[in-house]
């Protein structure tokens, strides 16, 4: 088959100088390389990194064996305190085995009466409680200020003489 001649032409020496021209152009262009892109590391950094990390791991490991010598005196102190506590409670239990009514706290008694229905009539209660010795403050906690009492009386009482203030009724 006859070769068809190329009708296109190029300048003289084009291909001879092409490589040099391309290299020159590439060096002039401000290209961003994908390599470290300006970032550097200190010399030998990576060489010593592994041993540095291993040392850090060893240093961070908890100490498995702890000498007891310095803790002996603390153990003796704790043991002595424990012995004292045991003896104290032991003696307490052995010396007071019998409980009496006086051992019951007032708060416990009040709680018992509040939470339990006694089933007693007023007559039965009056037989037990010495009414003559009772005062109002034994039954009701008095939160009333004297000022409040006077104010109440001012507003409620028209004739003060009716109060018979001279006598303690």
């Amino acid at each position: 088959m006859k070769k068809i001649s190329n009708s296109f032409r190029t300048p003289d020496g084009y291909f001879d100088s092409f490589t040099d021209k391309l290299t020159e152009r590439l060096s002039k262009e401000e290209t961003i390389t994908v390599a470290n892109d300006g970032f550097k590391v200190p010399d030998g950094y990576f060489d010593s990194l592994t041993s540095k990390i291993q040392e850090k791991l060893i240093a961070a490991e908890p100490v498995k064996v702890i000498g007891l010598h310095s803790y002996k005196k603390y153990y003796y102190a704790v043991a002595a305190m424990a012995a004292v506590v045991v003896l104290f409670f032991g003696l307490k239990i052995t010396s007071s085995p019998v409980l009496s009514f006086d051992d019951i706290a007032n708060a416990d008694l009040e709680s018992y009466f509040d939470n339990n229905e006694l089933g007693l009539s007023s007559y039965e209660i009056a037989e037990v409680i010495p009414v003559d010795e009772l005062e109002i403050k034994d039954i009701i906690e008095n939160h009333l200020d004297n000022e409040l009492i006077i104010e109440y009386l001012n507003n409620s009482i028209d004739n003060f003489e009716e109060l018979n203030l001279d006598t303690n009724e």
């Binding site: 994908v34 300006g38 590391v41 950094y45 990194l49 592994t50 791991l57």
Partner: protein, 180 residues
């Protein structure tokens, strides 16, 4: 060449742990370093974060289930450590994210371990302004040339979302460089 399964088994066994860990560090230290460095920018900070990453890997190797590649798991730890480092810095300094970005660029410019020219500095500035995910995807794709499938395993994001993130990141960087 030690297979990953064998390496993990040796890392979990007390008798072989030390040597296996040494091998692990030697194998992955540079890759993880550069990943961390591009997030925190400063060498000393990257060194701290890298060491913390490996220590975390060592302490938690028993919980590695093997449902992802070991490298992906380590890469994920490194990413979280670096991002947490940055957030802690913001909090400790009591400054906003943009103020920290400005500070980081100023420090990078004066950093003896940064020899980039003004275009490379501008590029780092542009990357800093990106949202977190876009920043990570761009750096992992552009600088570390990881495959989308690898990035997907590390960031636990779909390949499609990653491609979109990368495309957006590249557009934003281009716009930033043109304006600045």
């Amino acid at each position: 060449m030690l297979t990953e399964e064998l390496l993990v088994a040796q890392l979990k066994t007390e008798a072989t742990q030390s040597r296996a860990f040494e091998l692990l560090v030697n194998t992955y230290k540079e890759k993880l370093y550069w990943h961390i460095r591009r997030i925190v920018l400063d060498h000393d900070d990257a060194d701290d974060v890298l060491q913390n990453t490996f220590i975390k890997v060592f302490r938690n190797i028993s919980s590695f289930k093997g449902d992802s590649k070991l490298y992906s798991w380590m890469y994920r730890i490194a990413t979280n450590e670096a991002l947490t480092f940055i957030k802690d810095k913001t909090r400790k300094l009591g400054i906003s994210d943009s103020e920290l970005q400005d500070k980081m660029i100023r420090e990078l410019q004066a950093d003896v371990y940064f020899e980039g020219d003004h275009i490379q500095l501008a590029l780092q500035k542009a990357i800093l302004t990106l949202p977190e995910k876009q920043k990570l995807v761009f750096q992992m794709k552009y600088y570390q040339e990881l495959k989308y499938e690898e990035i997907s395993e590390i960031l636990e994001t779909s390949v499609g979302a990653l491609k979109a993130s990368y495309h957006l990141a590249a557009k934003k960087i281009e716009a930033f460089l043109k304006e600045n």
